[in-house]
């Protein structure tokens, strides 16, 4: 029993250890890539500002921010989905940022029109297709995927995936609820199998001949094409990359990974400095070469692998609508049987 008391004592000790560093910036982040650690380390070396991170699910972090209120230690909220930042802003958790440097760094068409969040990278939700069984000329738009000619051909992951939810939200925003629902029914009827697995699993399913066309995120294809496993590399090479809705169309759907400054940020200056750093050409260069995302700074080119797919026209939709129409998107998924 005495040892138990001792243990409790050490426990209390370990809990009360608090480091008193004032020159810091605190992040709540949905991103958890190795490249982020590199960025934060570089920033620390450059500025002497310590970067502290908690990585978790975006909605959980929103809940934490909301309940912490004025006592929140968080300065920045980072997501991989503009929709989640829209929700955070709706609940009054973010504040506007105005910075000349950010305006220079970030391409104007990618910025939040209302100024509540700043993108750091973006990714496209694209189509990949079997080079053997599909001719590129037959592919055109997302809308066309509901065409009965693709029956038993379409592969995609489940509707609980945030990237699919964002894509559907963009369709609701662009086409309206009823058209989007009609589209969803058509696509579901064309599914090669029930939605499941990761984006990479969809590519493997194409290689395995279980389907012909998959809806995937661009950067997962980048990861696959740089894989050290030969069989995965071959699977990646067996598919072609296609950007839908080009030419006269509205452009391919993209989503951003973005940062918002929290309403009660205790280290506001440091926070803005980090935002400026992450959008600088130097840091953008690090992003594109490690995570195969697209840069938001026009001075930086995408990585070699990604560049090979060519330039593409981006859907200019206000990305806040990815959050605004999220519930509609879920309702469409559920009512049309997109699991």
């Amino acid at each position: 029993m005495r040892s138990l008391i001792l243990i409790m004592f050490f426990f209390a000790m370990s809990c009360s250890q608090k480091k008193e560093i004032t020159n810091e910036v605190n992040l709540y982040s949905q991103r958890h890539y190795t490249v982020d650690e590199i960025q934060y380390k570089n920033f620390e070396e450059l500025t002497g500002i310590k970067v502290n991170v908690v990585k978790a699910n975006a909605d959980e972090l929103i809940e934490r921010l909301k309940n912490e209120g004025k006592n929140s230690p968080a300065d920045l909220f980072i997501t991989v989905d503009a929709g989640k930042l829209f929700h955070a802003r709706e609940q009054g958790l973010l504040q506007k940022v105005s910075s000349e440097i950010l305006n220079i760094n970030v391409a104007s068409d990618l910025r939040d029109p209302d100024g509540y969040w700043t993108p750091i990278t973006y990714r496209a939700r694209i189509l990949v297709y079997s080079k053997d069984r599909v001719s590129k000329e037959d592919l055109s738009t997302y809308e066309d995927l509901s065409n009965p000619k693709w029956k038993n051909k379409i592969l995609v992951r489940s509707s609980s995936n945030a990237y699919n939810q964002a894509l559907m939200s963009s369709l609701v925003a662009n086409l309206g609820y009823d058209k989007a629902k009609e589209w969803s029914s058509g696509v579901v009827a064309n599914f090669a199998r029930d939605p499941k697995g990761s984006d990479r699993d969809q590519v493997r399913a194409i290689a395995a001949g279980q389907g012909d066309i998959a809806i995937v995120n661009s950067y997962y294809i980048g990861i696959l094409l740089s894989s050290e496993k030969e069989s995965d590399l071959n699977a990646g090479k067996s598919v072609g990359v296609f950007f839908p809705n080009q030419g006269e169309g509205r452009g391919s759907h993209i989503n951003v990974s973005a940062i918002g400054l929290t309403n009660n940020s205790p280290n506001k200056e440091n926070a803005i400095r980090l935002m400026e750093y992450l959008t600088s050409p130097e840091a953008q260069e690090v992003y594109v070469n490690n995570s195969y995302e697209y840069p938001v700074n026009k001075l930086v080119q995408p990585s070699e692998i990604v560049k090979k797919w060519g330039e593409f026209k981006v859907d200019k939709l206000n990305l806040n609508s990815l959050g605004e129409y999220r519930s509609d998107a879920i309702k469409i998924f559920d009512s049309t049987g997109w699991q």
Binding site: M1, L4, I7, F11, C15, N26, H32, Y33, N52, V53, V54, K55, A56, N57, D59, E60, L61, E63, R64, K66, N67, E68, G69, N71, P73, H87, R157, S158, S159, S160, A162, Q165, D194, P195, K196, G197, S198, D199, R200, D201, R204, A205, A207, A208, G209, Q210, I223, L224, E228, K229, S231, D232, N234, A235, R326, I330, K331, D334, S335, Q339
Partner: protein, 530 residues
């Protein structure tokens, strides 16, 4: 009797009050959820009920069924063979059949799909040497049935452990009597052993069911929507936290019913283990010996050897990318939180079971059930309860809250072995102690602590492993810059970089395996002691 009852409260006032206070703290997050139950309009709940919840619930039952059947198959039969027969490899299997518990279920799922996929090892190999047509193997393996069996592989040790101990403790007396009455081996197993072991088997299955209920990573990957998916659909997709709370409360009611059923089975078939006579370890014909060896080899091979070999292979492939400094740091973090919370949890568990024991009261056993509720809740929901409670005091993100959450989540795991051990001690121990003038504290210190020593150590190890594998609670409640082996594994795996995650999952598996091998020796001692 009534007089004794009324005396009790005053005699042990401090113990009772302390237990009530601690129980309140443990139940706080659940209470907060219940208080928030009527906050929402119920719109989301109605919506989900109308659309998908029925399917999700059916899936849940289906998954539980498949998982339980496979856990029984992988756990029960080998436990019976090992407890009663001597065959080739018996001692070896006795040692290693616990090991799959070292592998987190989502890692098991990710790994197997990687092995089975078109570009994976299995199909590549068989296509190369192949007389089997490749189209035969080239099927979609991501089905609810596969998931159920994989989870069965990851979780059967719960059933195995419980039934192994029980089978050994039943001893040969029952078996001899049944033989004398003319029953053959199979009949003895079905008519005598299974009914006698029902409480043990059920308590093992109970843990399996709880794990299936709170599983989220693997089910999401497989595209199998379970009831828990419904909770997260409400929260993460529809942004309605109140809907999520309402669904979680319904889940709690279901689990309470399960608790009640478990209790009923145990009360119904309560018996005292007889003294353990020599285990027969009959010599067998070669044919049956071979059969038993194969039956025991299956769960070990598929639940441990294959996934671990695959993970080791991935470690070798990515060897040049391994950051050993980071690996060391995360290992330390994992060991630190696991050790610490395991201590806290077994202390809490022992305390409650002891109060239950000395009080011999119904309400106290109800409290004992209630405080186990946290095990059935998805970790993220426990996290939510704590966020709602403590965020505004800036406590979330401290180790204090993190350990608090682990206690709520894993108290049931810690209690289980201690409980079955304490229940086996005759009440006369306590009475004798009291007659000799021991107060409750001395009773705990001088009798229950030493007598249940091995059970406490077993509980420690089981909790240690569970915390080491824990993910959702750690993700949302952890302090700044705090990563564990489990969070790092998850972060790579979820970003489809399974090979890079393998060194961290291998470390989890290695540490947990060592602990499980130690556990094995404690379980043996428990069997001997009885």
């Amino acid at each position: 009797m009534a007089i004794i009852k009324s005396n009790f409260f005053f005699e042990n006032k401090r113990w009772v009050i302390t237990s009530l206070i601690i129980a309140t703290f443990i139940l706080l997050p659940v209470l907060v959820l219940i208080l928030n139950l009527f906050n929402g309009q119920g719109e989301t709940l109605n919506y989900l009920v109308e659309t998908v919840l029925f399917d999700y619930t059916i899936n849940t039952f289906k998954l539980i069924l498949i998982c339980c059947v496979s856990a029984l198959f992988f756990g029960l039969i080998p436990a019976w063979f090992i407890s009663n027969y001597s065959f080739f490899g018996r001692n070896f299997f006795d040692l290693v059949l616990y090991l799959p518990l070292a592998i987190p279920s989502y890692i098991m799922a990710f790994t197997y799909i990687d092995i089975l996929s078109y570009t994976g090892f299995f199909q590549t190999l068989l296509n190369n040497i192949s007389f089997i047509p490749s189209s035969f193997l080239n099927v979609d393996y991501m089905q609810i049935e596969t998931l159920g069996v994989l989870m069965g592989l990851a979780l059967y040790p719960y059933v195995y452990t419980a039934s192994r101990v029980s089978f050994s403790l039943i001893g040969t007396n029952y078996i001899n009597v049944s033989k004398n009455l003319g029953l053959n081996s199979a009949q003895t197993f079905y008519k005598i052993i299974l009914p006698l072991s029902r409480p043990a088997i059920f308590s093992g299955l109970f843990l399996v069911i709880m794990e299936v209920l709170n599983e989220y990573g693997a089910v999401k990957y497989f595209g199998v929507n379970t009831y828990t998916s419904g909770i997260f659909r409400s929260w993460f997709s529809l942004g309605d936290i109140n809907g999520a709370i309402q669904l979680a409360c319904i889940l709690l009611v279901f689990v309470l019913v399960l608790f009640y059923l478990e209790k009923k089975t145990i009360n119904k078939s309560k018996f005292y283990y007889s003294k353990n006579s020599d285990v027969i370890n009959k010599k067998l014909q070669q044919k049956s010996s071979f059969l038993m060896t194969s039956v025991c080899a299956v769960p070990f091979l598929f639940g441990f050897v294959i996934p671990v070999l695959f993970i080791i292979n991935n470690v070798i492939i990515t060897y040049s990318d391994i950051d050993f400094f980071k690996l060391l740091k995360l290992t330390w973090n994992s060991v630190y939180v696991s050790t610490f919370s395991a201590f806290l949890i077994i202390a809490t568990a022992l305390f409650f079971l002891f109060v239950d024991r000395i009080s011999r009261r119904n309400w106290s056993s109800h409290i004992n059930s209630l405080i186990s509720l946290g095990y059935a809740l998805p970790g993220a929901v426990v996290g939510l309860g704590l966020i709602l409670l403590f965020s505004s005091y800036s406590l979330v993100g401290s180790f204090f809250i993190l350990f608090y959450a682990y206690i709520i989540r894993f108290l049931a795991v810690g209690k289980s072995p201690i409980k079955s051990s304490i229940e086996k001690q005759p009440l006369s121990f306590d009475d004798t102690g009291k007659n000799l003038g021991l107060g409750p504290f001395k009773l705990l210190q001088k009798i229950h602590f030493p007598v249940n020593k091995y059970a406490l150590l077993s509980a420690f190890i089981l909790v240690f492993i569970d915390v080491m594998k824990e993910l959702p609670v750690t993700l949302i409640l952890r302090p700044f810059n705090f990563d564990t082996l489990a969070t790092q594994t998850y972060e790579f795996a979820i970003e489809e970089m399974l090979p890079l995650s393998s060194v961290y999952s291998l470390m989890i598996i290695a540490l947990s395996s060592v602990m499980l091998l130690i556990l094995k020796s404690f379980v043996d001692k428990q069997i001997d002691v009885s």
